[in-house]
């Protein structure tokens, strides 16, 4: 029974299933506000705590979770869960109030009035600081800061992981080449975040929680934050093991787990497998299918979307804002797309020009 359950969970955490399930769950929760009722949230929180507590009985699970550097990640997961709920719950409350014609919570019952910074704000801050300090000291007493063997430039630990908040980037490096995953995409994340206030032309929802008035913005941002950042941190911390293979949470980290990772380039799929001819000699001719696919994705698709699905945005934002918006959106989705292609079709590169260090 227990083994069957563990087996099931191990199966469900296979990356393609895990990410698909999490994304489906995410979009359902955006669609149905029943997800954010306090009872549901409490039940989920308790369920999570029970899952964690029971799983700690499993040796392989406990081994990973108890690592001192992983403790903040577990804390972070519960904190993120709580605060996502808190914001969405208040947002739905406000939406109901607005639907009834009342002002949001933040503007009713005298909340619009001003109050003294001393004592109201400074004492709140003092309390937060004291609690924060206590948490830190207890945490420091309970867990030693990790220190491993002295550095040895010739021996890479197996597995070798980045600091936890960069595990999303490290995961990205499996699917895209370093110049994209390590340089271009991180820069675009920063630029994209900075562009948000200049792209989001919706004047509503300034200074109070609301979902109904900014559905699309919140969904895009939360997808990036929860699925593409936090979920990838979970993936990198708990599911990536020796040789950077995937392991279920209850699976033994076997150094010799054999996984076929024989990835194939798009050019080989097209020229060799589909057309039955050899790879062309000229590298640019060889990569024509991939180059075309990329051009369609970044040039044709934005224009197409402007006439169809995103017509409303094209008209509202104007050509320049729309161009930036759609490029950022497409590049954001490029990561899950490539991950799925890799997992389902073993696709390595869409464009593979190792001769000039240019692979996509």
């Amino acid at each position: 029974m227990v083994d069957a359950l563990k087996g099931a969970i191990n199966f469900l955490t296979a990356p393609e299933i895990f990410i698909t399930l999490a994304s489906v769950l995410f979009f359902l929760s955006m669609r149905y506000k029943a997800f954010w009722a306090p009872k549901v949230a409490l039940a989920l929180g308790i369920l999570g705590a029970i899952f964690l507590a029971v799983s700690m009985l499993d040796h392989n699970f406990a081994l990973i979770v108890k690592k001192p550097d992983n403790v903040p990640i577990v804390a972070m997961l519960f904190l993120v869960g709580f605060f996502v709920w808190l914001s969405m719950h208040q947002a739905h409350q406000n939406d109901e109030r607005i639907a009834r014609g009342e002002p949001p919570n933040e503007a009713s019952n005298g909340e619009n009035e001003k109050t003294w910074v001393w004592p109201d704000l400074v004492y709140t801050e003092l309390l937060c600081m004291i609690i924060g300090m206590i948490v830190l000291v207890v945490w420091g007493l309970a867990f030693h800061a990790p220190i491993e063997e002295a550095a040895n430039p010739a021996r890479t630990p197996n597995p070798s992981k980045a600091p936890w908040y960069f595990l999303g980037l490290q995961e990205m490096l499996v699917y895209y080449d370093p110049w994209l995953a390590g340089v271009v995409f991180p820069s675009l994340i920063i630029v994209g975040l900075m562009a948000i206030p200049y792209i989001d032309m919706n004047p509503k929802g300034n200074g109070y929680y609301t979902f109904k008035e900014r559905k699309v913005e919140i969904t895009i941002f939360m997808f990036g934050f929860l699925i593409q950042w936090v979920l990838l941190v979970i993936l990198g911390t708990f599911l990536r093991g020796p040789n950077w293979n995937f392991f279920g949470p209850y699976e033994y980290w076997d150094l010799h787990k054999l996984l076929a990772l024989n990835n194939v380039n798009l050019s080989e799929y097209v020229w060799v497998k589909a057309l039955g001819v050899g790879l062309p000699k000229n590298m640019f001719v060889r990569e024509i299918p991939g180059i075309l696919a990329t051009l369609v994705y970044v040039v044709v698709l934005p224009g197409l979307l402007a006439r169809t699905w995103l017509k409303k945005y094209f008209e509202k934002l104007g050509p320049w804002r729309y161009a930036v918006f759609v490029m950022l959106l497409l590049l954001q989705i490029a990561l899950p797309i490539k991950m799925m292609l890799r997992w389902l079709f073993d696709l390595k590169y869409i464009v593979a020009l190792p001769e000039i260090f240019f692979n996509i």
Partner: protein, 270 residues
Amino acid sequence: MATNATKPPEPFLTRTWDYITDTQIWKSIFRHGMPSTSRNRVLVVMTNVFLHLHPVKIRKSGVRLKFTWCMGGLTFFLFLVETFTGLLLMFYYRPTVAYAYMDIIDLAEQVPLGIMREIHRWGAHAMVITVWLHMFRVFMTGSYKPPREFNWNVGVILLVLTLLLSFTGYLLPWDQLAIWAITVGSNMARATPLLGYEGPGAQLLALGDVKMVHAGSDARFALLGGRFVGEGALLRFYVLHCVGIPLIAGILMAVHFWRVRKDGGISGPV
């Protein structure tokens, strides 16, 4: 006259308090009475350089923890904790390959109250989490919308600086965890387009046969001060971690807080 005579003498503590607050020293520091009247509540904020970060009055919804989560405040607090504990750690730590690792070991075993490094490290983790949650809150309340667009940008840069602070600090213990995380991290710089010697376009930058961008002249070299993670990298990361990035972060924080005030204080519905 009669009422004065029947009044019982003030308790000892009150008298002492009155005496202290009546001295010239006290009066030279605090230019106002206890902040229990409106006038003094204004003065306590206006005449104190630290409290002066705040306005005198603030909208009620902006004080609610349910609204702000106090995550920005906690982030700043953690920055101060990191500065203080980091300063103490610097007394015992020498950033050279020969000493760094042993200094860290000694720190835990030979120094009284040896949880300074623990607090520093867990505080760094906590700071990353609070920065994220702060950004998440600001997004969910739409507080980046006009007129606060620019301050959101400053905030994004501060988020990046927080991550960089944490990343540069990761190398300093000079253990296996440290050098391999930094090896992988810094090798990405090798692939920077044009500036990294394995990045697309770097081959175009050549004078005849002589390559302009090679392992000894690319973006990664500038970061590490060498072709691999060694003595030079340790020193550069140490300096960036202890002086360079905190200095920039400190300046940007001043801008950030100032703009919160100038852009209309904490956000709220109109």
